[in-house]
């Protein structure tokens, strides 16, 4: 429905629905912290950004560019074949290792933080630098450029 709806705002709303279902799956998988972060980051931050840009650009249904039917058909064929291949390959793989006994503590903040700040400390710091670069880049890009127009 994200892909099919003509109105971009409806696409965003369906995407929020999809994100909430994925967050529910995280809860089922005993990844409580991940579910929380997922809702906060995606439904809270990213979707607000999308809605803001769509409203800023004032996109309507009549301005929506539409592909020719040939391209749509080719895209549907390609996507469907990709799904078929992925499912056929992955469903047949035999996962050798048996499931461990359930450890419900693994998704809690305490354990995740312990792993994050000991084993993955360097990638964590690099991610902060990435955020800094992205922030500066976004501000510079969105700034009014005096040379153009």
């Amino acid at each position: 429905m994200v892909v099919a709806s003509k109105n971009p705002v409806h696409s965003v709303l369906y995407l929020i629905l999809t994100f909430f279902t994925v967050a529910g799956h995280y809860l089922l998988l005993n990844a409580q912290f991940l579910a929380l972060v997922h809702i906060v980051v995606y439904a809270g931050a990213i979707m607000v950004l999308f809605l803001f840009v769509i409203m800023l650009l004032n996109l309507n249904v009549d301005k929506e560019p539409v592909n020719t039917n040939l391209v749509k058909f080719a895209g549907a064929i390609a996507g469907g074949s990709l799904m078929l291949v992925l499912i056929a390959v992955l469903a047949k793989t035999n996962i050798m290792m048996p499931a461990h006994p359930a450890n419900t503590q693994i998704g809690l903040i305490k354990n995740l933080g312990k792993v994050l700040y000991t084993e993955y400390n360097l990638p964590f710091e690099i991610a902060s630098i990435l955020f800094l670069v992205a922030m500066i880049g976004a501000v510079i890009l969105a700034k009014k450029n005096p040379h153009t127009t």
Binding site: V2, V3, P8, S11, V12, L15, T18, V22, H25, Y26, L28, L29, N30, A31, L34, H38, Y42, A45, I46, L49, F50, V53, I54, L56, L57, L59, V66, K72, A74, G75, A76, A78, G79, G80, L82, M83, I87, L90, A91, I95, A99, H100, P101, A102, I106, G107, L112, V115, E119, Y120, A127, L130, F131, A134, G137, A138, A142, N145, T148, T149
Partner: protein, 106 residues
């Protein structure tokens, strides 16, 4: 909470992720609105995140969830920069139809 994999086998999560990923690919291939293409990319990232979390729980290993965390961080940065680029493009050529973006120099 008991182990989810005694109820739902891991194969179902693999299939769900494959379907989500294919929907994302379909969106990228068939739409021309740049914002909707971005949303489709988000769907693809989410499918991969879901699979990582599923296998992390399956193997009782927290590293998978850490990777999901990093992917979320990168996705957030990517969306911020990408939407800034889209706003810039819209200011310059007054459309976000990707078929109009066939020139490197406007």
């Amino acid at each position: 909470m008991s182990n989810i994999f005694s109820v739902v086998p891991i194969q179902h999560y693999i299939i769900l992720s494959a379907i989500l990923f294919s929907i994302g690919v379909l969106g990228v291939l068939t739409r021309r609105n740049a914002i909707i293409i971005f949303m489709s990319v988000e769907i693809m990232l989410n499918s991969v995140n879901l699979l990582l979390a599923a296998f992390s729980t399956y193997h009782n290993d927290a590293a998978g969830q850490i990777f999901v965390f990093f992917i979320m961080a990168v996705a957030a940065a990517e969306v911020a920069v990408g939407l800034a680029i889209i706003v810039m493009i819209y200011r310059n050529i007054n459309t976000i139809d990707i078929n109009e973006l066939n020139k490197l120099k406007g």
